[in-house]
């Protein structure tokens, strides 16, 4: 839903958290969902199961999943949940997610995230930050990308010799170098400028969930022989708005009133930032020192 709204230039939310999703474009999308759910051509993970299971059993002509989901898709996928006797042999083509305007593609970028929370014990925060830095190292990024199918989150890792070598070996095997998985990653990396993320504000997760719920509800209603019309959609909007408390978000968001409510930075936080700065100075100093020693020898 979020991608389709973005592709259509339709409202989803502002950066400050003003909810814009309940609009005519959303209704239009939901009518399309209803049309295809009615014929049985469309379903969702929550309703039916993993898209790859249906694709691999020859029960659908295309399946949409993330770059990580590509590891499960295709006759020769290294990870398969259906029994061997249900697998159908076919050639798998990998494409970007369907677009309203193929000349100006828009793809949502999302995946596992890490947050470092503020804690009373600043050492915990420091340890968390150091762990986050470890996760950003090439060793971790490249290894994670190779097994899971996500792209490394740093350009440094993406451009590393090891990762480039991995990409170049697509098709060598149907395991680490599974071609469908690598091709999905290549499409993503070749279209990095065509990706977008959604703004984060208090309630942004609820909005994200609500946007998916609209599709779930319409698909289920159609399957249950209910009528999806203007009255239905108006009720659906109202129900989802209430269910996810979207009418209570107040359009605050990260840059708005919330910042004033938080007040000035606590002393402990200032001290922690100072410690982090000193730590980085130390890291850089050691790196320079090692480089100088290397040149001398």
């Amino acid at each position: 839903m979020i991608q389709m709204l973005k592709q259509r230039g339709a409202g989803y939310s502002t950066d400050e958290g003003e909810i814009q999703i309940f609009n005519d474009d959303t209704k239009d999308i939901l009518y399309t969902v209803a049309e295809h759910a009615k014929t049985g051509a469309f379903s969702t993970f929550k309703i039916s199961g993993y898209p790859a299971n249906f694709l691999n059993a020859g029960q659908c002509i295309f399946a949409i999943d993330s770059s990580a989901g590509a590891t499960w898709m295709g006759s020769d996928a290294p990870l398969v949940d259906i029994s061997e006797d249900k697998l159908v042999q076919f050639e798998t083509a990998v494409r970007m997610v369907p677009q309203y305007d193929v000349e100006h593609p828009q793809m949502i970028s999302q995946g596992p995230s890490i947050c470092v929370f503020n804690k009373a014990d600043s050492q915990e925060v420091l340890a968390s930050w150091l762990f986050a830095q470890y996760l950003l190292t090439n060793d971790v990024q490249v290894a994670y990308a190779e097994t899971e199918g996500y792209a490394p989150v740093t350009t440094k890792a993406q451009q590393s010799d090891e990762y480039q070598d991995y990409l170049s070996r697509a098709g060598e095997d149907n395991d680490v170098h599974y071609p469908v998985k690598i091709e999905a990653t290549r499409i993503l990396m070749d279209n990095a400028e065509n990706t977008f993320v959604t703004p984060v504000f208090n309630g942004s997760t609820s909005l994200r969930d609500a946007s998916g719920q609209l599709i779930e509800n319409v698909a289920k209603s159609v399957r249950r022989k209910e009528t999806v019309d203007e009255a239905y959609l108006e009720n659906l909007f109202s129900d989802v708005l209430a269910l996810y408390h979207l009418d209570q978000l107040g359009g605050g968001g990260v840059g708005g009133a919330d910042k004033e409510a938080l007040g000035p930075l606590p002393t402990a936080s200032k001290a922690l930032i100072g410690v982090l700065g000193v730590a980085w100075v130390g890291i850089i100093a050691v790196a320079i020192s090692d480089e100088l020693k290397k040149r001398k020898s």
């Binding site: 039916s48 199961g49 299971n53 949940d81 259906i82 399957r223 249950r224």
Partner: protein
């Protein structure tokens, strides 16, 4: 006089004995379905489907069933997931509306009526978006031994039932480091203590994947700790619920090493 008194005593004793028998019989039948271990109701309430009707219903049809709770899997944000069974079959009730207070009342054996929609998720037949009503009755289903049905087309007829497996052998699983182990945390060994346990068992003909579902019987429960103590080659008897995910995926609730 003495004779009259003796006769009266005898009559009184006999009356008391008969009364006691009658009360015992009535008390045994007072809760329809009987006490735990007794028989389930076979008559369904008005508008309630028999298991045969439920089985014949199409996916996405509205369904109304009566059954007895056999296990509780989870509660979250006023939604409960439950295993239930009646005399003829079993039901997986997924995310039914249920307050936390009511969830506490859903003890094993409790009779309930559920109204919801029949759904199918990756081969698992379930009742989705249900509402639960409590009814009088109590029954704990015995576990049906389905060992001989493993690998056959007949096994699916027992989906979601309380089942037993006898004399299966623990086969090795391979952990992320390539080492052979008796079980894994999560399906791929990526988890840690507290996550689902996956382990392989063999009946001598084929190998099957069984699970200890951590929401149902998590860390600290007898079965969870027992599976962690298993060794490759152990012969085990097990009980559980015959969950289905793209094929049989039993959720084991007890393990005994022979």
């Amino acid at each position: 006089m003495a004779k009259q008194l003796n006769r009266k005593n005898a009559l009184f004793a006999m009356f008391t004995f008969v009364l006691a028998l009658v009360l015992a019989a009535c008390g045994g039948n007072a809760a329809s379905g009987g006490a735990a271990g007794g028989a389930p109701d076979t008559e369904k309430g008005e508008g309630v489907m028999t298991y045969a009707d439920y089985s014949a219903a199409k996916v996405d049809d509205q369904v109304v069933i009566e059954a007895y709770v056999q296990g509780k899997q989870s509660w979250w944000e006023n939604q409960a997931t439950i295993y239930a069974q009646d005399a003829d079959g079993a039901y997986f009730i997924y995310n039914a509306q249920c307050s936390e207070e009511d969830y506490a009342k859903l003890v094993d054996g409790q009779k309930i009526k559920v109204t919801g929609y029949k759904a199918e998720w990756s081969g698992e037949i379930e009742i989705a978006e249900g509402t639960i009503e409590f009814e009088d009755g109590n029954w704990i289903a015995p576990a049906t031994d389905v060992t001989a049905l493993l690998g056959t087309d007949e096994l699916i007829a027992h989906q979601n039932e309380k089942v037993a497996f006898a004399g299966l052998t623990i086969e090795p699983s391979t952990d992320p480091n390539g080492k052979e182990v008796a079980y894994l945390y999560n399906w791929d060994g990526s988890g840690s203590d507290g996550d689902d346990l996956y382990f392989n068992v063999s009946d001598g003909k084929a190998t099957y994947s069984f699970t200890v579902e951590s929401y149902l019987t998590g860390a600290g429960t007898d079965v969870y700790e027992a599976v962690k103590g298993l060794k490759v080659g152990d012969t085990v008897d097990m009980e559980g619920f015959l969950y289905w995910y793209e094929g049989a995926n039993p959720h084991i609730t007890s393990v005994t090493v022979k």
